[in-house]
Amino acid sequence: MVPTTSYLALSGILFALGMIGVLTRRTAIMVFLSVELMLNAANLALVAFARSWGDPTGQTAVFIVMTLAAAEVAIGLAIIVAIFRKRETTNVDDLAALKG
């Protein structure tokens, strides 16, 4: 049995990696990818907690997160495609039209 702490540490490292990606990547698609990485890190922690407590609630939460991620990706990619059709770019630096 691998201790829960190891899984949590791995999950933290993955989450941090995802965060670095969100901050440094400059096309919308890559930012999205990094967000997926962060979601997965959180999922991993949830599943580890589920085993630690012996309660499937954590796993159920992961299931719901996966569904959310699927919905989010469908909408997010649709938005990216729509923006690309209008602006011919997915660079987030250029997409500052809504900035105050």
């Binding site: 691998v2 933290g12 993955l14 990094s34 599943v47 085993r51 407590w53 719901i64 909408i75 729509a82």
Partner: protein, 211 residues
């Protein structure tokens, strides 16, 4: 068990690093696919076999294929090369990320299992579809239904978003109308994030990767 964890964990981290560091967007996505598969393997070691299968089917099999599809469709696989408007963002993000990871690791080691691990694993009964279904349709019925409605909304929204605009009633073609918030000059510039034509810039980009 320990060996599997170390192997999968190391591969997951490698995949994550590829995801955030690879120049080519397709390579980055493949790195993420690797991470997702490793996480699925980790789920399997955590007595969550149903989630492991779902992770591969939904994440690696559908979500990531969708990502790659869009990347290839928009030919958005080359990185943005011009100067970043935010100064020192890479360095700051690196330091921040390291601090965050360190904090998480320290936090993780303060966690104490509330009961012996073997006992907890036993209570999960392998995390099969049966266990998941029981929880999902009893204690989590409301979130379950909410998520299903969310999915429906997502489908409708995605269809509505990418639908081509209907013909203008005044007969002016879409092309001549000014897009909101995008002056004509800017549109004529060479696109920075991605090339308009499907395969136009593959050569240049590949050269870059090799160099």
């Amino acid at each position: 068990m320990m060996l599997a964890f170390i192997l999968l964990g190391a591969l997951a981290i490698v995949g994550g690093v590829i995801t955030i560091a690879a120049k080519n967007a397709v390579h980055a996505s493949l790195g993420l696919v690797g991470t997702l598969l490793c996480v699925a393997g980790l789920f399997a070691t955590l007595n969550a076999s149903f989630l492991a299968a779902t992770q591969v089917i939904v994440y690696a099999g559908a979500v990531m294929v969708l990502f790659l599809f869009v990347i290839m469709l928009l030919n958005a696989n080359q990185p943005v090369t011009e100067r970043d408007p935010v100064p020192y963002v890479r360095e700051l993000a690196g330091i921040g990320g390291t601090l965050l990871a360190g904090a998480f690791v320290v936090l993780a080691f303060t966690f104490k299992d509330p009961r012996p691990l073997a006992e907890g694993a036993e209570a999960l009964r392998g995390g099969s579809a049966l266990v998941m279904g029981e929880t999902l349709l009893t204690r989590f019925l409301l979130p379950f239904e909410a998520v299903s409605i969310l999915l429906l909304v997502a489908i409708v929204g995605a269809v509505a978003l990418v639908q081509r605009p209907a013909a203008q009633p005044d007969g002016v073609p879409d092309e001549l109308e000014e897009p909101v918030g995008a002056p004509q000059e800017e549109r004529r510039q060479v696109p920075r994030g991605a090339a308009p034509a499907l395969m136009q810039t593959r050569g240049a980009q590949d050269g870059e990767v090799r160099a």
